[in-house]
Symmetry: C2
Subunit: 317 residues, 2 copies
């Protein structure tokens, strides 16, 4: 089994590569992983080959796709904050590079399984409390529009038999270690991570804002499952809303106080940032995930369990 | 008022230009119409300027968009049959040229109103008898996927304020005069037009297939209305399913027999063509059009009235 991961040097990409190599999930034995990213993949393993370059360059994309690749995870993307501010770069990376990748797959002898990570940002406008699988996409951000176009491209290339694609819409990942990033949802990790490190943090949305969340571990586990899934079980609907849990910002801060103490909670200030709130509050807070659950995908137990997972990670790091 | 019509030499485009120039609809007085198409616009009027070139050429597209254009109708497209057979050409015209047009509009001092004609081919998969406005798009044809991507582009460029876009999903137009075209739905005109001219014709889908139909006159009238519509009345939902009537192929053939006589009906043979049926039968048969009707858009009275309109057109031609 040979796997390509675009964005393989990133937070999620490198964790995914570790999980693919550890061989515990449903994926057959992995012999080689190619990481295509702007930087080398940090995973130290003889089976990992880093190819360093820009996914915006179609020649680099074509060179990243080996003729015998079995599974491709396309994680490389410009995040929501940057996409909104730099329209052309968002289109170039989130749309054009996705199309270039699909084109590189199109003429392979065996169409590879391709997992495209999408986002709940494809939704927007009026929507029910719990979003069903057949709700129209009405993105209210450039990132969401670009991901929605990527989903259609993956769907069409799959229908034509050019690839064997599955779209996985990821919940917002929390708690991400490290530094804030350019995603509008960066605070969803920041309001836990920073206070636990004794650093002040701001919650830029109203505290009753519902968020749809997955821990990094479970997001990675679900992506591994998607890579190994029998496509015939999906029928025409090749897009999956990966399971998450629905919590409000207030409930997240309650978890922080329970597990990190009152001083940690006191480091978070509530500061409405309309630019962020306009994007994040247009996203759904909960999904009907009965189909993905029946397919074996999993959700976290609670936000407390997510915070504990993060704190244990800190302790063993 | 200055208007650009891409596809202005085509059947719908030239009819639209005539309607815009006759000044009877809600559109303010039209001083000039630029037709951008592979051929010169057949409308003889001093206010019409033909610019001849390929919409696949971004330089031609940029040259077609004058700085003072008020309204753009983007009708140029590769139809469903050809898009399915020639994947790259479909993507180039239906996706890339649409994006090039939006880019040409992006830096104008005044964002023009842009009407993008889309199609019920954006739908597919399981769907209710009557399709609501918030149903997910799940195209089952290249044409449908390309139009769905075009819709997202128009939505995003509108949200960013680059254009003032409205997407009009047209019903299948029947009865088109002239010759069969490369649309999978070409037979929807053919099974009426050909027998009325004494020519045999084939119905390639099961006779109980539901079709969502508009006469050419009403489709044009609704497009004029869309060009003049106050965008604020649309809210976030910039896509309209234009009104049509729902008829089965059998009901169409009944109309043919009533108005054209038994000999005409006898010229239509029922010949299942799986390639055509697979596309057409994936389309919705009826839509909830309460919102467009409330906005002043109109539907035909009956399929008999549509056939009569066509026969009167023949008589006066």
């Amino acid at each position: 089994m040979k796997i390509l991961v675009t964005g393989g040097a990133g937070f999620l990409g490198s964790r995914l590569i570790r999980a693919l190599l550890d061989g515990k999930g449903p994926m057959p034995r992995v012999d080689k992983v190619v990481s295509a990213d702007l930087a080398a993949c940090p995973v130290k393993d003889a089976r990992v080959e880093s190819r360093v370059g820009s996914i915006a360059d179609p020649l680099f994309v074509a060179a990243a796709v080996d003729a015998d690749v079995d599974v491709i995870y396309h994680l490389a993307a410009v995040l929501s904050g940057q996409s909104e501010g730099e329209f052309d770069i968002g289109m170039q990376i989130n749309v054009d590079a996705t199309r270039a990748l699909l084109e590189a797959c199109r003429h392979l002898a065996k169409p590879p399984r391709l997992i495209f990570t999408s986002s709940l940002a494809v939704f927007g406008g009026p929507m029910p409390e719990v979003v069903p699988e057949d709700l129209v996409l009405m993105p209210q951000s450039s990132y969401g529009a670009e991901k929605a176009i990527g989903e259609l491209l993956v769907g069409e290339y799959t229908r034509k038999g050019f690839v064997d694609g599955i779209v996985c819409r990821l919940p917002t990942i929390s708690v991400r270690p490290g530094k804030p990033n350019s995603a509008a949802s960066s605070f969803v990790s920041g309001i836990i991570r920073e206070p636990l490190a004794g650093v002040p943090s701001e919650c830029p949305v109203p505290v009753d804002t519902r968020l749809w969340i997955s821990s990094p571990d479970l997001a990675v586990k679900n992506l591994v499952r998607a890579g190994a899934l029998d496509g015939a079980r999906l029928g025409l609907r090749r897009t999956l809303n990966l399971p998450g849990i629905c919590v409000t910002a207030a409930e997240m801060l309650d978890s922080l106080e329970r597990l990190g103490g009152k001083p940690a909670r006191a480091l978070v200030s509530l500061t409405d940032v309309p630019r962020i709130a306009a994007i994040v509050c247009s996203w759904p807070g909960a999904f009907d995930v009965s189909r993905p659950l029946a397919l074996g995908f999993e959700a976290d137990q609670s936000f407390d369990s997510i915070v504990k997972q993060y704190m244990e990670g800190l302790a063993t790091a």
